[in-house]
Amino acid sequence: MAGTSSLASAVGTALAVPFSWLARIIDVPLRAWQRLTGYNGMAVFFLAPNMLIFGIFVLFPLVINFAYSMTGGGALFLSDRTYVGAEQYQRLFDCSNYLDPRSCTEDMFWTAVRNTTIFVVLQVALMIGVALITALVLNRDLRARSFWRAVFFFPVLLSPVVVGLIWRWILQRQGLLNYMIFELGFDPVNWLVERNWAFAAAIGVSVWAHVGFYALILLAGLQAIPKDLYEAAEMDGTRPARVFWRITLPLLAPNLLVVLVLTLIRSVQIFDEVYVLTGGGPGTSTLFLTQYIYEIGFASLLRNPGLAAAASILMGTVLVVLTLLQLGLARRNETKDKR
């Protein structure tokens, strides 16, 4: 034991030497910089690497993407493309009835918008419900509680492609589920070829894959609720349902809000596991916005990079609105807490 601590101390001392040497080297230019620019200048100095990376990998592509959306033609280099103004946006919005994709010039885009909207509504509701129930169950005094928490969190660790493949093997015509159904004496169902079943599978699989993460957030919220509130309610003889509505839910509201916004943003971006699972089919019943953008931009034989860029700008706008909503609600909660 003593040997171990002296070894650790020796390693610490050995490591401290180069660090202190490095600190002495950068101390001189840093002090010079501070004298020149003041404290704000120092902030800029320390933020610069991050801002540079953000600029190169986020801001610059965003600007380029917007420029793309104003161009046409088959070339990929921006300089080789023709400026067409808002033509790609006009094409996307050329509809006689936005609720009927078939009345739109770019019917696939509006089909994807409709599918994504329905998916977001159903998936977010289901995700929050299942995550809340999971968190409430995992918060109880269960035997092997840590094991069960790990079980529910495990799918979150899987790659979306793996998730898609696993469920495809289960749900395909000659898959595991149909084998079990057949063994029980029932007719197999073509889960991934029937429109409604495929859509339900897309929702179910995405919930299965991510519910552990959101359940964990809610579990943290549940554990932060003071126990004495529950004890007081128990002493008053309050019914469990009333305890849930009057104590648990109000105090869990901030966590629920985080889960709601994160789920919303993620469900708008749904792509990978569903793409592997259904390929957007049957027909176009599980074609979502991100897949539409990917296909029209990169994969389709009818490729159109300008149209893909315009569609991604529109989708980005929706995501920005959702993010601002999250920031606004978070700020409102902070203000409430301070009061």
Partner: protein, 421 residues
């Protein structure tokens, strides 16, 4: 000072290790069957004879060739050599090997018949050569037909005859479906032409969807609705996504499968002696019994930094004895005049294979002029994309056939308009 020098040396070493060395030739290759192993063997022998040239073989999925390579090429990057099937549309990215080849006349003589498939209209460039000539066509599970006691239709049988016979097999053997056709606009184009379709307008631009295409599209939809055609292959994906029906045929779940000659080695390898199968050529329509010719080409990419080395590799792989060996081992139909002029000894013990290849050679004589014209036509891909996207929507119950035809015309027009900007 020493410290700085050390850092500089380490950085330089690191950078050198990630950059391509002069003399490196990268080949992007996909495989339908065993050709990946064969080309590796041939390239290893080339490197032994040419120690100054290091050939790196990147075996990739077909999807990478279809979806990622075009993007790389548009960005002015990519491998030095690639094996591709979308030959005409990407022709602007191929290198003209003419100034670098050791014997241009040899190339013209033996591969010249297909150069127009792989170069821009009006060009006289030599971008590469066809590694194989393919033809779309059908395969029947002979064992299933025999077990069902159903006679296989003859050479002049129509699509309806084949579906009817395969349907009897389906009912008798309790199969999930009677037939499958790969989910691909290319695959249904031979049958469309057999029913009188013509894709190429007088101005060489795409013609509107005509009665021939409509006739076969209606049949496809009807067969899907009545359970004769495997619904999963076409309906279980969206857009222009490619889906092969081979797995169901290999698993004896289909009586009849329409794909192409490139499947022969794949079927032989995976089916083995599980059941007997035969190639049938293409069933007849009202106008012809045509498949669609095509193939894969090995092309040099014009963005290469090592054109001389690339040409050396191409010259080696294009030699008659090498093409012959590649052909005999891969069980492909060659695109080399000299190899075709002599008997080919395909290296296989599978009796199904030789018969199948003979059937495809015979079917090559049945190719309709409209089908022969398609590989050298630059708008083929747009047409195929519109066909597969919209027909599968009809099969899924999202569109009526008439709506689908209108959409196909719009999709193709939009693609042409976008390309001309």
């Amino acid at each position: 000072m020493k410290f700085s020098k050390g850092i500089m040396l380490a950085l330089a070493t690191g950078l050198m290790s990630t950059s391509a060395l002069a003399g490196d030739v990268r080949v992007m290759w996909y495989s339908d069957g065993v050709e990946g192993e064969v080309i590796k063997d041939l390239l290893d022998r080339f490197m032994k004879d040419n120690p100054g040239i290091n050939v790196v073989l990147d075996n990739v999925a077909y999807k990478v060739i279809q979806e990622q390579l075009p993007i790389e090429l548009e960005a002015g990057r990519g491998p030095d050599i690639a094996r591709v099937t979308n030959i005409k549309e990407l022709a602007g990215h191929w290198l003209d090997l003419t100034p670098h080849l050791s014997n241009v006349d040899y190339w013209q003589e033996n591969f010249g018949a297909h150069f127009d498939w792989m170069r821009p209209d009006g060009s006289s460039a030599i971008p590469g050569f066809m590694t194989q000539i393919t033809l779309t066509g059908g395969f029947a599970n002979k064992t299933l037909f025999e077990q069902a006691g159903v006679d296989m239709p003859d050479d002049k049988a129509t699509w309806d005859d084949w579906v009817e016979a395969a349907g009897k097999v389906q009912d008798s053997q309790q199969l999930n479906a009677a037939i499958a056709i790969d989910r691909s606009g290319h695959r249904v184009s031979g049958p469309n032409i057999s029913y009188g379709a013509n894709y190429i307008g007088a101005d060489r631009l795409p013609a509107p969807i005509d009665a021939g295409t409509k006739a076969f599209a209606e049949k496809l939809v009807a067969w899907t609705e009545n359970g004769r055609m495997n619904k999963e292959t076409w309906v279980s994906a969206s857009g222009t996504t490619y889906r092969a029906g081979a797995e169901d045929f290999i698993n004896a779940q289909l009586a009849y499968y329409y794909s192409g000659s490139w499947q022969v080695a794949n079927l032989s390898t995976k089916i083995g002696d599980a059941f007997d199968w035969v190639a049938t050529g293409s069933p007849c329509g009202t106008d012809a019994c045509s498949g669609l010719p095509g193939g894969a080409a090995l092309v040099a990419i014009k963005y290469t930094k090592n054109p001389e080395e690339v040409a050396k590799v191409m010259d080696y792989l294009a030699q008659e004895d090498i093409v012959r060996e590649f052909t005999e081992r891969t069980l492909f139909l060659p695109g080399h005049k000299g190899v075709l002029s002599k008997p080919i000894d395909f290296k296989t013990d599978d009796p199904n294979v030789k018969a199948a290849l003979e059937a495809f050679v015979k079917a090559a004589g049945e190719v309709a002029p409209n089908a022969s014209a398609l590989p050298a036509w630059k708008w083929g891909t747009a047409y195929y994309g519109a066909l597969v996207t919209r027909i599968s929507q009809v099969m899924a119950g999202e569109l009526k056939l008439d709506e689908a035809y209108a959409r196909m015309d719009e999709d193709i027009k939009a693609k042409v308009a976008e390309a001309s900007k």
